[in-house]
């Protein structure tokens, strides 16, 4: 019944349509599979693998599940030295690539050039791909043939289990995949399978099944504020909930920072620290008094120890696009600068890792969690404002500060005034995000959109300045260390000039962006948001 497959080890099945429906076999396989084959051989000749092949399946995604959220699946299958990546997605495209010897986590850039890399990198961006689930599979591929012995559909039987030591068996899956131009054959095969007792349609994808068996869930991390508040809940409880989620982010990112998996672990960690500090400042008064005092300084310390590496990351990340825009200098002129930054980063990273492994960090995190859980405890919460009232009052206040500061800025105002405005905008942004779950989603999105446009402009203005000043300082250090050949210094001068142009452009756009934010429509939206939250 199953003469040897003529398929080479690397051949893959391609779905013509997205989402081929998988069946689950009762009794883990054998009896129902025999019934399936008996039924199918009435219509098709069936050939293919005589014995199952042992595969290891590793599903990859970024730490913040960018692929999953985009509906994509990236699976790395390895078997006896062979290795293949497959990408499937809602567009129905099934792309494969042979990645060779790759060690995860890794950036998509390490994959061989081709359509798979292009399409994955577009989504994963600067985040590394890392294993999110693994399974050991016994897979058999059977081909359904027509009278010319042409494959007209495929049947894949996959008995997977979690890797040792867990070893939990997953339900055996059976899938029919179509071959382009022969869709009728696959439909016929599925109709046959629909009538076979012991077969049920699988309610979830193989990845979701593997995650569930491992006690995990997809998309279980996001660096964004993600809390569900109720308008009537005590404000103290709401604030503690927000802060606990920020602490979760910090703690979950630590390992990725220590292992230097990608730059965004540190970025997410820092944003969560900044949100924590802002929350303490803006809404921390509803927490027991002594908490704000102690932890504000601890989180400032955490912010400070993470700054040098992040600043260097920003330089290194902006390198390729900036080097590409050099006019007088060649991109290779910047090599000594890049090498200098990398050395400096390695040194700063050692300091950062020491801080993150320190007693101080462990006790900040541990004590903070305990304190927040205690603050949340309903029995201890004294009667106080409702979450919605706090949200409305503090949003109005933060908005008022932005308007007041921004309106006073003229063309003659010093750069410092824009930097201060940027800080106030960030605070408003955080207050909005903290209480997002209390707001009408469409009004919230519009308010956030207005604010983002203003923040982008202020960010560009300040970041260009900071980066330019840093390049000048780094040039001085490189000179002092005799690590600065003339072409490198000249190229760095060009980078500084690019940044200067960007800063001036941002400054010129400021007035219009601010007017857009502070105008009547924006004001009405904020009024609607805060009125609805408080009602």
């Amino acid at each position: 019944l199953f003469p040897g497959s003529v398929l080479g080890a690397g051949d893959t099945v391609r779905d013509v349509e997205p989402g081929s429906r998988d069946y689950l076999l009762a009794d883990h396989g054998q009896r129902s599979l025999h019934r399936v084959l008996d039924e199918l051989t009435a219509t098709f000749a069936v050939t293919g693998d005589r014995r199952p092949r042992s595969l290891r399946r590793t599903w990859l995604d970024t730490f913040d599940w960018r692929l999953y959220r985009a509906g994509l699946t990236l699976e790395h299958v390895t078997a006896r030295g062979a290795s293949e990546l497959t990408r499937t997605g809602p567009d129905g495209l099934r792309l494969t690539a042979k990645p060779g010897q790759v060690r995860w986590p890794a950036l998509a850039g390490v994959l061989p050039p081709g359509p798979l890399r292009d399409r994955v990198a577009r989504v994963s961006g600067i985040r590394a791909l890392l294993p999110v689930a693994t399974a050991a599979s016994q897979t058999r591929e059977l081909r359904l043939l027509n009278e010319d012995e042409k494959t007209v559909a495929r049947l894949v039987v996959d008995a997977a289990s979690l890797p040792a030591p867990a070893g939990t068996a997953l339900p055996t899956r059976l899938s029919v995949t179509e071959v382009r131009g022969y869709q009728a054959a696959a439909r016929r095969a599925r109709r046959t399978l629909d009538g076979v007792p012991g077969l049920t349609l699988s309610p979830m994808t193989p990845l979701d099944a593997a995650l569930r068996a491992a006690g995990r869930q997809a998309a279980d991390f996001s660096g964004k504020v993600d809390v569900a508040l109720r308008p009537a809940m005590p404000a103290r409880d709401a604030v503690a909930t927000i802060l606990l989620q920020q602490l979760d982010i910090v703690e979950r990112c630590v390992d990725g920072v220590l292992r230097d998996i990608d730059t965004e672990f540190l970025h997410d960690l820092r944003v969560a620290v900044r949100r924590t500090r802002s929350a303490l400042k803006l809404v921390g008064d509803v927490l027991p008094g002594e908490l704000t005092l102690r932890f504000a300084s601890e989180f400032r310390w955490l912010g400070d120890v993470t700054t040098p590496v992040r600043d260097l990351d920003v330089h290194l990340l902006s390198f390729p696009p900036m080097a590409a825009r050099l006019v007088a200098a060649a991109p290779t002129d910047l090599d000594p600068f890049q090498a200098f930054l990398a050395r400096r980063r390695a040194a700063e990273r050692r300091k950062l890792n020491r801080a993150l492994r320190s007693e101080r960090f462990a006790s900040v995190a541990g004590d903070w969690r305990k304190a927040l859980l205690a603050a949340q405890d309903a029995r201890r919460v004294p009667p106080g404002p409702r979450a919605a009232d706090l949200s409305a009052a503090r949003t109005r206040r933060a908005y008022g500060r932005v308007i007041k500061l921004g309106s006073a800025i003229t063309a003659a105002s010093p750069a410092e005034s824009l930097h201060t405005l940027r800080k106030r905008c960030k605070e408003l942004r955080y207050v909005l995000e903290f209480f997002a779950s209390l707001h009408d989603p469409s009004v919230y999105r519009a308010v956030l959109g207005d604010l983002k446009r203003l923040q982008d402009c202020l960010g560009e203005f300040q970041d260009s300045q900071v980066q330019r000043e840093e390049i000048q300082a780094l040039a001085a250090t490189m000179l002092a260390q005799r690590a600065a050949p003339a072409p490198a210094l000249l190229a760095m001068g060009e980078l500084a000039a690019q940044l200067g142009v960007r800063q001036r452009k941002a400054r010129a756009e400021f007035a219009e962006r601010f007017a857009g934010f502070a105008g009547g429509a924006g004001r009405r939206r904020i009024a609607a948001l805060t009125a609805a939250a408080a009602s």
Binding site: G8, D11, T12, L95, T96, K98, P115, D148, R180
Partner: protein
Amino acid sequence: MRILATYNIKGGVGKTTAAVNLGYLAARDGYRTLLWDLDPQAAATYMFRVRARVKGGGKALIQGTRTLDEAIKGTDFGELDILPGDFTYRNMDLLLDDAKKPTRRLSRLLGPLDRDYDVVILDCPPSVSLVSENVLHAAGTILVPLIPATLSVRTLDQLTDFVAGFNGTKPQVLAFFSMVDRRKRIHREIAGRLPQERPDIALATIPALAVIERMAAERAPVPAFAPRSAAARAYRDLWDEVLKRTAD
């Protein structure tokens, strides 16, 4: 989308076997690949066990009453699809002649496939005709199999001159020696020397081997049924060289 065409005025020089094996290897590398068998004899189609029939025939495709997309069939191999040959393609010259801009018709028809495929290989029937002229206009690279003989080089030069006269973008012409018989001194001599002297002749050569002739009996590409054979290695080398030299 890279469009390659295997072309030679002469028949029996290894066009179809090259198209089939290179198509297979492109797909193995992860490129979504389409092979269009333009030959009414439909040998490439036969090798993939696909029926040599297109609904509505060549007429429906050329006149656009059916899209190419509807006629495409999946082969037994991963990312490789085929647009089957059809006996009605023997009239394709007449059909093309009736079309607007008759020499650019195939190029226009292939346009919409850009989203679906990374590589398209056109297997062209041996002739000088409106069909082959269309193929030369549609392709970015013309792969020309040559038997190692003095006259075949002359054919290559004629083709190069012809293509040089095109208006607008001109395809790259890349020849390779095919059916090289190591026992023949002239084959060894020409296939060894010319690729060194001429940049338009690939360094990789395809030997005359029985395993290549077996493709029709196995109805599969060489690397699929004899992956460790010398012929499979030769096609691999050729594909690697084509990839490198057609880098877009």
